[in-house]
Amino acid sequence: MRTNLKVVDNSGAKRVMCIQALKGKKGARLGDTIIASVKEAQPRGKVKKGDVVYGVVVRAAMQRGRCDGSEIKFDDNAVVLVNKQGEPIGTRVFGPVPHELRKKKHVKILTLAEHIA
């Protein structure tokens, strides 16, 4: 709640603020879906300021344990905007994305990503 996240696709938004984590009592982590409100947007984009959108967290500063014992953490918190059915609104995703998205059934974001951590 109230976390400012960076948007890393070309859907037009630049910053969103989380207003609800869809799963988990303690909040959303890497790979989870959130509901967010667009706080800052580019002038000609598919979303505008004030829209309520769904997003998938692709980078989180909190470390996430992997099944082989290692942990992964990023320098920033980033999200990719998605519609209610899970389809990404933008067409490209910038920056690295983790493997965890595959298990969380976000293969679409993985195919649009340019680099996979």
Binding site: R66, C67, D68, Q85, G86, E87, T91, R92, H99, R102, K103, K105, H106, V107, K108, L110, T111, L112, E114, H115, I116
Partner: protein
């Protein structure tokens, strides 16, 4: 039909792995892949995929080998459907074929770890992804294909994201230039 098929496949296998095909062994699975491509997962063959797509009359089937650019998968197959119903049909046909090959393999080898390919996007029929390890099939409709433009993303050469400078030059110690007005004291 799909739900009945899935429950039948799950009922047949004895282990609980079928419910979550990408369970903890995922990273381990990825490492073993290169040695034994067909043994542990269902539905890896490109020829089978192409045959099914031809049977379902999918338009504009493209196979892109991404083994060089991409370390999580080897082949991407993109197919177009003429309507949302057609796209859903393509996905169902592929799952049906996968279940068939799994049943056939199971009869040969006995109860093994059966992996059904995972499907994403089934409800909204615009873009359905079927993930079966080394082969990923994208079934899109016309507008989605033009919108996302997956071919241009995967066919252009992706430059490696490693460091571009030479490693030897990075660690060479360079005497710093003295920009201050004070002269450097000579060490006795």
């Amino acid at each position: 039909m799909l739900a009945a098929l899935r429950s039948r496949a799950i009922h047949l296998c004895s282990s609980s792995h079928a419910l979550q095909p990408w369970k903890p062994g995922f990273l381990g699975f990825h490492r073993f892949e290169s040695s034994s491509p067909g043994s542990t997962s269902g539905f890896l063959d490109l020829q089978e995929v192409e045959k099914v797509l031809n049977d379902v009359k999918a338009d504009d089937v493209k196979v892109i080998p991404v083994r060089n650019h991409c370390d999580w998968t080897d082949f991407m197959v993109i197919a177009t459907g003429r309507s949302t119903w057609h796209v859903r049909n393509i996905a169902e046909a592929l799952i049906y074929k996968a279940a068939e090959t799994l049943v056939a393999k199971q009869k040969q080898k006995g109860a093994q770890r059966l992996l059904l390919p995972s499907v994403q996007g089934q409800e909204g029929g615009k873009w359905i992804v079927i993930d079966s390890g080394t082969v990923i099939v994208h079934a899109l409709d016309e507008k989605a294909r033009a919108y996302y433009n997956l071919e241009s993303l995967w066919t252009t050469e992706m430059s490696p994201k490693g460091p571009t400078k030479d490693l030897e030059k990075a660690f060479v110690k360079i005497r710093r230039t003295n920009n201050s007005k004070k002269s450097v004291k000579k060490v006795a």
